[in-house]
Amino acid sequence: MSRRDTQFDTAQSVAGGERSAEEIVRECFERITTTDVDLHAMLSHDADRSIALARTVDAARASGQPLGPLAGVPLAIKDNMCTTFGATTCGSKMLERFESPYSAHVVERLEDAGAIIIGKTNLDEFAMGSSTEHGAFGATRNPWNTARVSGGSSGGSAAAVAAGLVPAALGSDTGGSVRQPAAFCGVVGLKPSYGRVSRYGLVAFGSSLDQIGPLTLDVRDAALMLGVIAGHDARDSTSVNQPVPDYVAELDQPLAGVRIGISDEYFGDGLDDDMRTTVMNAIELMRDEGAKIVSINLPHMKYSVACYYVIATAEASSNLARFDGVRYGYRTATPTGVVDMYESSRGEGFGEEVKRRIMLGTYALSSGYADAYYLKALAVRTLIKRDFDNAFEHVDVIASPTTPTAAFALGENAGDPLAMYLQDIYTISANLAGVCAISLPCGHSPTNLPLGLQLMGPAFGEERLLSVAHQYQRHTDHHRKAPPSASAA
């Protein structure tokens, strides 16, 4: 059970009849039982339902029916995506008992592909955070070192994949929430281009920034999963109607001639020395394999954290207005009137970080301040986008560290929101610009914590991005290293 099978291999073994889906799903629940007590990656899971679904897959295979590309693969999804089974809590007391009457687009796509969604993973409340310590139901610990955070906000999904609970999982990324926990937990995390994957059924945080993305053991799995969830959905007006390439088939494009951009803005103050060295080594390796390293300029990158925290919080303040205790979700026990019902339900139902961001965003949109904050931030966002447009005229991908440091200790940044916000300094600009980006393991710190390399590509440039990342993995084995908790089990 130390083996961490990829999604790809799991699907192959089911399709080839080497293993039954039921056997795979049962093993998956055994690992959850033994390992997740320490990690707390899962918020909910349903063994009976999953085993029943696995039997359907096995029966379908036995009777010779065609199987989907993910048939029999157990997956977990972040608990901010709606499912008609179980609760959809968003890691919040507000939605602790909320059961959605409909499923998110990605859930439908995964199930149509034959995947078995075994449960929902932990997150920072409403995806607001970088450590998965800010949920109402406790922190998720890092499988590499349980005194460390798993990153966030998709920390549950990252930890679940790293620990081998499931071969792959979905997260959502508003400012780095897939990539940063992937880096901290030593797995691959992909944030697709804005509009590539439908947001229908993803509980919104920052609507113009949110994208759903895979967390996987390797790049091939990310390509496989993206191929399943990407594509147009008429229910999401921002989902773009563009054909979905066969990402797996395109992975073998060689590194030779690929232009990789590097920018000083990603290697300045605050970057850990080990991280700098490791990422530079990764870039060197790609140069050795024939890639061309090109120096680029992203002059407005330095404003991205400020810009992001205005736009994301402004949108969040509006998106979270619907949680009022009127129709669903938490309602205060004995409201004295309608205003008190609103104030007390929201005051008691939301955690500190969510309330902080709602207030920030409300302020940024208020009359008299909107010009100085929200509209200014939109203008800066346009400049950042333009920086990327310009850069991608000269390079195919941009390489950088995913995070300034390896996973920090639980509680280390809990009292310092600003330090926490700076965790996303390298990831945020991809969301602001709407481009695609991936984090992949590129080494380990002296204390054996994973370090992440970030590659960014132009909007709808996932094919090239994934192939460069895959070629890097062909020449390295950082992604094959399992955390001690997974190997010890």
């Binding site: 959605s100 059924g201 229910r235 007006s237 509006s318 949680f323 609103y342 949109l365």
Partner: protein
Amino acid sequence: MVDAQIAVRPIIGLEIHVQLLTRSKMFCGCPVRFDDPPNSLVCPVCMGLPGALPVINRRAVELTILTGLAFGGTIATHTKWDRKSYYYPDLPKNYQISQFDLPLVSNGHLDVDVGHGEHRVRIRRAHLEEDAGKNVHDVGGHTLVDLNRAGTPLLEIVTEPDLRSAEEACALCTGLHRLVTYLGVSEGNMKKGQMRFEPNVNVAIEHDGVEYRTPISEIKNLNSFRAARDAIDFEIDRQVAAWHEDHSYVLGSAPNENRGFDADRGVTEFQRDKEAAQDYRYFPDPDLVPVNVSDAMLNEIRQSLPELPDARTARWVKDHSLSVEDAATVVGHRATADLFDAVISAGGPPAIVIKQFVNVWLSHAKQRGVTIGDLGIDPERMAELAQIVADGTISKTAADRVAEIMLARNRFDAGTEDASDTVTPSVARTLPTTKANNAARCPSPLALAKELRLLQVRDTAATDVWIDEVFAANEQAVQDAMTNPKKRKAAAGFLRGQVMKKSQGKADPKLVGELIDKRLTGSA
């Protein structure tokens, strides 16, 4: 203190909400219907469930553009959607999707005429938004929320403050109602709240050469023309009286207000200060993409724009010599106006056709609760009925009788039931209306007149016999007509009517008039 020197000039603008006639809601596929069981027409989108996203109803955009073109507005080539934030239990997302700074339509106008010439009212803007649900208060001590209406497309039309009286404001409301129902953009059913008015009212008071302006009141949510007129009238008087106290009720010193109207007591009541105005925190809705109106789309909608009532009235007055008043009775309902044009095209003499529309067809339609078109008489037959009146073949009175028989025979020729009472609107609409069917079923008015012996009698001797009988039976009227100049006209008219009745409509009214006049004056 009564001050003889003051001059009061009301300044009135209107915000009008019109519910658009679309099959589905503004941002989801739920049907738009009234009176269904509470919360039966809802989905994750219009309930504001977590993760649900809006999708624009293209039809609502088209209807808005159509309306904008009809009142001469400028159509935006690029527009977007904004969120307007406020908390209310009937607003599921606690923001309303609306249009803030880029409305679909701007700079239009509508003319009103309340008896002293046309007055142009500028329309500042018209934009699309979603309606809220409904709070149902005091149900077992609770307030319940019904979201069936939530997400219904609303067109909000905002005029400049160009209206000068409650009467003008009311005329604008009715004119707009006529326009949107004519265009088929809205059903305009006031009882269902499909049109709601919010006047902004203040007054300019000139006193000893100084002009004072009172604070602006916005009167919320009026749902009838009468309420709009009464509320504005009350509000004008109230503001003038408030100013009279010590001249301090003026803009800048006293706050603008939101007021409600109590229709039972006929008064407006304070709701809240607008100075403490809510901050709606408008910002572009990131869930929706901007709308670009292409030239092709605009042209297509422009081509679907029908001839509008004012233009049609002008054409009828010019080409058919109709009076504006007569035209007005027919022009407001598009299908009826189309039918009128078809009857004229089929050779109906306009002067007679319009009278028959108003006095005959419309009254039959009203009795049945349908429109004239639903009566199922084809335009050729209507034209023929007017022709045989025009050429003196039958009298107007006889034409009424012929029309009744036409309707009766047209509907139920197989001897099923008696005609007139049982026709319900739904039945009427399902009756065959193709020309072939009508030609077969609808009898020729001339043939009917012959069959019923209603052809006009122009024989003096026969007419004199009827007159003899009527004069003998109505001595008092004859006396009045001959001796009392004040009553002469009425009495003579009465006698003519009696003769027509006696002849069962067959007498020639002109001849009857001449013969009666001769007798009355000859004997005097």
